[in-house]
Subunit: 353 residues, 2 copies
């Protein structure tokens, strides 16, 4: 019965089951295809009678509207492209969950592309999104190069950047990002309140757009507390757990060890905690630790991690809503502007009593 299968997928639907179009419905209903089109799109230009008749028929025939054909004439695809570095990053995954979820609610679907931070992949992704005629693009990548942004904007559709504010962005590009400086300040300030004065900062990658802000917040909190900034206490990391592990070793090698560490993000913090414990240190007794992001595992690590919580799902949601406002501006409203959301300090056990 399904023997034709091995010959490959027949062009449209299988030979066993050809696809039904509005013309087919029209033929069976004895009307023109335009009447069918109107009936299915609930146009007032059709009698209620034929409307229901056609709709029933469409249901019986198993009709499914062809979004491509529709988009071709309408000029919109109700699809938004989402570009991430990797979906395996727990932070990004949660943001994307927020994006997909609200996009779905608004009748949009999502094309997901991951760049793996490889420039060629990024460009290929952009070309593909452009060809697929997405209505807009949301980018959740911690670093968006200038050239890359240029290509992105070359698609000619609105772009929303998450955690990646850029000054040199085009007129259709907006960003929504967490207040990194304030978050860094909150975390450091918290450690200071806990009585620490030698506080390390484990940095992220320098090309991550959030890095500078978090470090500034760290510096500011120190300054406000009258603690002299010690460059030796700022160690390099990479945003991943292994970076945190290496950072701990670097701190261990210091003459005067820190009693606390604020880490660029949770992954770094978790790696640092693990390495500390492996080296016989107790957290938070020997070294207090605070992270950034509040990924799901922050509360499941041992000890549970004190961190700055970002409203990840909400940021995804907000990004979609901003995108829709760009695509379908509501008459009265003000045009969108860049958004900065505040992170929240979540005190858990890794920062002490």
């Amino acid at each position: 019965m399904a023997m034709g299968w091995r010959e490959g997928c027949a062009p449209k639907g299988t030979k066993d089951m050809p696809r039904v179009s509005i013309k087919d419905i029209a033929r069976q209903a004895g009307v023109s295809h335009s009447t069918v089109s109107r009936a299915l799109s609930d146009s007032p230009l059709v009698s209620a009678q034929t409307k229901t008749r056609i709709r029933l028929l469409a249901g019986d025939l198993g009709y499914s509207p062809d979004a491509q054909a529709r988009s071709l004439v309408i000029g919109r695809t109700w699809t938004i492209g989402v570009v991430v570095t990797t979906i395996a990053d727990p932070f990004i995954a949660e943001v994307v969950q927020g994006i997909e979820s609200t996009a779905h609610d608004k009748g949009y679907s999502v094309i997901l592309t991951s760049s793996n931070s490889e420039p060629e992949r990024e460009l290929a992704a952009v070309a593909m999104l452009r060809s697929k005629r997405v209505d807009g693009v949301i980018v959740t990548s911690s670093r968006v190069g200038a050239i890359y942004l240029e290509h992105l904007e070359g698609i000619g559709v609105p772009v929303v950047l998450i955690n990646n504010h850029r000054e040199d962005s085009g007129p259709y590009t907006f960003s929504i990002s967490v207040d990194n400086r304030h978050g860094g300040w909150l975390a450091t300030q918290h450690l200071i309140e806990r009585g620490h004065r030698r506080i390390a900062y484990v940095a992220g990658r320098e090309d991550h757009s959030s890095e500078a802000g978090r470090r500034e917040g760290y510096c500011q909190a120190l300054a406000e507390a009258g603690i002299a900034f010690d460059p030796a206490l700022v160690v390099r990391g990479n945003g991943r757990s292994d970076g945190g592990e290496e950072a701990l070793l670097a701190l261990l090698a210091l003459q005067e060890r820190p009693t606390a560490a604020f880490c660029y993000n949770d992954m770094t913090a978790i790696g640092l905690v693990l390495a500390a414990q492996r080296n016989g240190l107790r957290v938070p007794e020997s070294i207090a630790v605070a992270g950034f992001d509040d990924i799901a595992f922050a509360s499941l690590s041992n000890p549970p991690l004190t961190t700055i919580s970002q409203p990840k799902r909400d940021m995804g949601k907000h990004a979609v809503e901003m995108m829709l406002e760009l695509l379908n501006p509501t008459p009265g409203s003000t045009p969108p502007s860049n958004v900065v959301v505040q992170g929240q300090l979540v005190v858990r056990e890794s920062s002490g009593r």
Copy 2:
């Protein structure tokens, strides 16, 4: 300049930047649009001279082929739909990363939909994928209801199920799944080798298709070791960390407490470990623990978690390759069949010395 923006996105591209089609190129090049089409698709029916001339022109004009129009006539979209429960699940996220990555390599793009396990969302997602004319669908959901599968197959395109083998699937539906029974056996056997005889099993949701197999493996290992099966040692879980926490409390309430626990998955195991530590138990000394999946955090938890590793990325990759073989059967090859991959025991510290 970009003042027209607030009037909404103009149909195709912005007014500032109308989209260029092959007809535009044809006009400028003084040839017919079919010649342009041929030149761009590298047809041998065009002189090398005009071919390069047209291609250069296309580049200058910033031409981007319209995938929709193309698909409309070709009958393929080079798009596959991916259905997950939630992308925020670390296991699923890694599988999807594997899917997106290899799909990209093969020239396919991915539409991501998350069902949140809500039936209405699932059906809406299926309808949307059908309308968008995806070439195939990959499902990574731990439970696929019979009705749901029916709808899925109603799209008329191949379906690949990950970790969700079903006997009652249609002729175009295949599955790739881990050997749950063997994995459960491996983990339990490992705990037995470590000297444990009272070993608990913390179950997953009963409607998860992997649950039965893992439990069977557990039972078999016990039987082979001559250990009597004690139903009291099988406690309910839900596949999440809070389920593991509750399970530990249940085990604590037992007359004869277990000295080890095999958990349905890593999230459950992590929750159980955390609850144990909160209750003054030491892992693995007081209770040894093994999980299943080997999510990224298994190695980052404290103590690092012994678990059964699933080749998550490879499973995603394999799913795509299977899909492509269904879409473009290579002449000589055998038709795809359901695949069962073996998990690997990864011994870390949570299971003892």
